[in-house]
């Protein structure tokens, strides 16, 4: 008999919990699910002549991701240009994530090992770039790396190079820009994890015959893994959808998915394709994340 009573009160609690989270759910549906749904619907409609969509069902948007129709003879061909844009985006995002980790980990370690007072100052310095508009920061990077820019002038004057290095409008430029912009997003979660890391474990590891490198690999890394995962996700995802950086530093020719999507909604006047690309990007990110988190958690320490 008591079971039913307990069941009843449990149901009551569940109902109350749902009710309490209702406002959050409503906001989530309107702000997150709503726009996504609109994109999903648009991706199955036909493009209008001057942008917008015509309410007629069509899978063209999706087909066009992979297949291109020649505008002169109507022949279909494989849209390798689209795929290479996807591939470049993924490649640049992965490299950016690795580079931000390579730079961000020592940085976070440095900050986490300072005393409490200087830590606050260092963290403050890390977040300062956020105070300036992304566009302005990207133009500033451009000023540094362009042919007549700071870097080339310096190298020329030092006699290290005889002609300016062509950095702008290359993948290198996009990489430099993205690493610069997304570095704080890697440093902050890493710092959070390292700040909680018990430094006394280092002494324990040294005491038990571990070298510095082994200590890093076998003790520090596994313990701060949540920070590494969070930092990687925070950098990888916005990189994949980056728009401003490749636009300015890549010169609009070296497109990433973000620029390509923008093109469909702007000059391309092909909203369904743009919507389909957006959804495809979302799916890719989700799949990549699932695999990443699985892989990281799956490599349990063997002994």
């Amino acid at each position: 008999m008591s079971m039913t009573l307990e069941d009843h009160s449990e149901k009551e609690t569940t109902r109350r919990n749902w009710l309490l989270s209702a406002p959050a759910l409503v906001i989530l549906i309107i702000a997150a699910a709503g726009p996504l749904l609109i994109m999903l619907v648009y991706s199955f409609l036909s493009p209008g002549d001057y942008g917008n969509v015509i309410w007629k069902f069509s899978t063209k948007g999706w087909v066009q991701i992979l297949v291109e129709r020649d505008i002169f003879d109507d022949t279909l061909s494989f849209a390798d240009a689209h795929l290479s844009i996807f591939w470049r985006s993924i490649k640049l995002s992965i490299i950016t994530t690795i580079l931000t980790f390579a730079v961000g980990f020592p940085t976070a370690w440095f900050i986490a090992t300072r005393d409490a007072k200087s830590r606050a100052i260092w963290l403050f310095l890390i977040t300062i770039p956020f105070w300036t508009n992304l566009l302005i920061r990207t133009f500033a990077i451009n000023q540094v790396i362009r042919n007549e820019g700071l870097l080339n002038t310096m190298l020329l004057n030092l006699g290290l190079i005889s002609a300016p290095l062509q950095i702008t409008y290359t993948d290198t430029a996009v990489l430099i820009g993205m690493v610069y912009v997304y570095l704080p997003l890697m440093v902050l979660p890493l710092y959070g994890a390292l700040d909680r890391f018990d430094m006394r474990l280092l002494e324990a590891a040294y005491d038990l015959y571990a070298s510095r490198w082994t200590t890093l690999r076998r003790v520090i890394m596994p313990i701060v893994k949540p920070g590494i995962v969070a930092g990687s996700i925070l950098v990888f995802i916005p990189c994949l959808g980056a728009y401003v950086t490749p636009r300015i530093l890549g010169g609009g020719k070296l497109m990433m998915i973000g620029n390509f999507i923008e093109l469909q909604f702007g000059q391309g006047r092909n909203w369904p394709l743009g919507a389909a690309l957006s959804i495809a990007l979302l799916v890719i990110v989700t799949v990549a994340l699932v695999f990443y988190v699985r892989a990281v958690n799956g490599e349990k320490t063997h002994g």
């Binding site: 324990a204 590891a205 040294y206 005491d207 038990l208 070298s211 002994g303």
Partner: protein, 355 residues
């Protein structure tokens, strides 16, 4: 020479420079024998932990040298020394299981897998944690974590095991159990233990020898009984157990107390002038006030401690002494506050101290 496990030779450690310099260790020399349970005892800031960390390799002496088995290891990093530490905070690896924690040191030494597994099993049995092998360390109680820390440090079979106040985080009952456990582990493994503590009782009950430290120096090294019955100076006498200090004047081998009366005291020979006499509370006897040669005293207060009762007495010159008597089933008549009593010293128990 060969029976010395660890030796510190004129070890100094200075933190900071110039006026702000702190001398954590001041010219400390000590030899610790193989297979002994050696305790560094002293109040916080006395340098005992610094000396331990120096032996472990976490601190390098500003001057002086550390020897392990006759070899100079002063500049050897911790991971190259056959010395392991049980840390005060245990410092267990939270991402590893109990067994993985214990096997960590062996694995780092590059021992084959089978040997690591076999030794780990042996260590688990030694600390009676076989059932916990697969658990994460966060799932263990304080006492169990302590035992994992011990097993982890013992597994690589170090020449010396260093223990940095390992029992301080445990409650009283568990601490008593672990004291016995530690002593058992030391006897069973035959490894030299160097134990750091500020708890004099812990030091007295477990150690073969104790070094009492204060202000970066070793005051006295000796067995528990030596240290207790023949403290080298006032600091040792007051830090270990309770002691009454009485001012007195020495002349020609005889000691005259300021409170009146002449007593025999060890160390009186060759001393002249003002001295301090130390006597333990259990080495004083209360007798009838008119007893011959007894000091006149008045009972101020008494405190019942269960097994014994402490009587606080005022002497003729106003100084106060404590007398400890085994408790009786009822209050002893004539030993209540305000009563006048005579005070006698147990022969040979009083001692004159240097400062």
């Amino acid at each position: 020479m060969s029976d010395i496990a660890v030796e510190a030779r004129k070890a100094c450690k200075q933190f900071g420079q110039g006026d702000a310099a702190v001398h954590a260790l001041n010219d400390v020399s000590v030899q610790i024998r193989k297979g002994e349970f050696f305790t560094l005892l002293g109040p916080s800031g006395c340098g005992k932990t610094t000396l331990l960390r120096m032996i472990a390799g976490f601190e390098t002496p500003t001057s002086g040298a550390i020897f392990l088995d006759g070899q100079d290891i002063t500049n050897l990093p911790p991971n190259k020394r056959l010395v392991n530490t049980v840390f005060q905070s245990y410092a267990l690896f939270p991402h590893l299981t109990v067994a993985q924690n214990i096997g960590f040191g062996l694995e780092m030494q590059g021992k084959p897998k089978a040997e690591v597994a076999a030794t780990t099993d042996r260590m688990l049995a030694l600390v009676r944690l076989e059932a916990m092998a697969g658990r994460k360390t966060s799932q263990l109680s304080g006492g169990q974590q302590q035992r994992v820390a011990l097993a982890r440090a013992l597994a690589p079979k170090p020449k010396v095991l260093l223990l940095d106040e390992p029992l301080s985080a445990l409650d009283l009952k568990l601490r008593k159990e672990m004291q016995i456990e530690l002593k058992r582990l030391q006897t069973e493994t035959g490894i030299t233990f160097i134990f750091v503590t500020h708890d004099q009782e812990e030091a007295l009950t477990m150690s073969d020898r104790i070094a009492v430290m204060s202000a970066g120096k070793i005051n006295q090294i000796g067995g528990p009984r030596d240290i207790y019955t023949r403290p080298a100076n006032r600091f040792v006498a007051s830090f270990i157990g309770e002691t009454n200090f009485l001012s007195a004047t020495a002349a020609g081998g005889k000691v005259t107390l300021s409170a009146g009366g002449t007593i025999d005291a060890a160390g009186a020979d060759g001393r002249n002038g003002a001295v301090t006499v130390a006597i333990r509370p259990e080495q004083l006897r209360m007798v009838a006030p008119q007893d011959d040669g007894a000091l006149a005293a008045t009972i101020r207060n008494l405190v019942y401690f269960g097994t014994d009762t402490h009587y606080y007495l005022a002497l003729a010159d106003g100084s106060e002494v404590v007398v400890r008597l085994q408790s009786q089933t009822a209050d002893v008549p004539g030993l209540e506050p305000g009563a006048k009593v005579g005070l006698r010293f147990v022969p040979g128990a009083a001692q004159i101290l240097g400062d």
